[in-house]
């Protein structure tokens, strides 16, 4: 567990280091994910410690959204002001994207 966590944290740190490069389009954690992914490719799937740690973290992924998500408490007035636009964007936008994605993929496969 500890070995796996150390390795994953090292990739997170490397991602943060690369984020400092000017013009880098990706946030540190996402770059870290790409590095971890490349590691898995190179090592043909990695080893038990990091796989087990990654699985344990992913099992409780939603826990880690809670502090950022609770920030919604400070944005109530903004949500209220733009409620109509937000509702339309979420419902119509999602419907269009969903239908386009399904039909396009099916058409391309056949």
């Amino acid at each position: 567990m500890l070995r796996g966590l150390t390795l994953i944290l090292a990739f997170q740190l490397a991602g943060l280091a690369l984020e400092q490069i000017p013009g880098m389009p990706l946030p540190g954690p996402i770059t870290g994910m790409i590095l971890f992914f490349l590691y898995l490719l190179v090592t043909d799937g990695g080893f038990d410690p990091e796989r087990e740690t990654a699985r344990k973290l992913l099992n409780h992924m939603p826990l880690f959204f809670i502090p950022a998500g609770a920030g919604i408490i400070t944005l109530g007035s903004l949500l209220q002001e733009q409620a109509l636009g937000i509702t339309l964007a979420l419902t119509l936008g999602t419907l269009v994207a969903f239908v386009v994605t399904g039909l396009l993929m099916q058409w391309l496969i056949r």
Partner: protein, 228 residues
Amino acid sequence: MTALINSPHFAITLTLAAYLAGHWIYRLTGKPSFLQPVVSGIALVCLALYVLGLDYERYMDGAAIIHFMLGTVTVALALPLYQNLKLIRTHLKPLAITLAVSGIVASGTAVGILWLTGADRGMLLSMATKSITTPFAISVTETIGGYPPLAAAFVMVTGILVAAFGGPILRITGVTHPAARGCAMGMTGHGVATARAFEMGPETGAFSALSIGLMGLYTAVVLGLIMP
């Protein structure tokens, strides 16, 4: 008492307890997708902050370690992406084209509609990540200058809508191929809809799971390049 409430001990315990309570509520109500543990977890934390009169910034200071771990779990997402990689090889071209179109349509339509109703820049940027997995959406929004909590909320609502209405819409539109069903669920509804996709079948679920990572990476790169 105030010192206690302002300590990390309180913020961390509150977050974990709210998450566990969210799980409990989810199971007790028969697992409806709109009551994802994280939804009630966030609601319970907000309720506690409101009742105790605690500043959000104070709470966030205390819970900083949990927010830090969001970056760690983002790195860990490489594992499911790697495990679903073999699916890419079998459908490389259709997947690449669908992803390229789907990413633009998912962000473009939502941001476009919001722009027509006169929303401000921060709000538009928070909407752009609505179809990607929450940890990606939060870190991308932090980088491009939106409101991360709104981005997280929009992601959750989008995932819940796709999970709830995706099945009937696939039937109406005649999308029957498991790969196409999985892509529709995962590319537009990320992890929340993927749980539903696995109930439709293992192949649909696997394509949906793969789509989460692909859509997240693609959207993050495109937004990072056009919004420096």
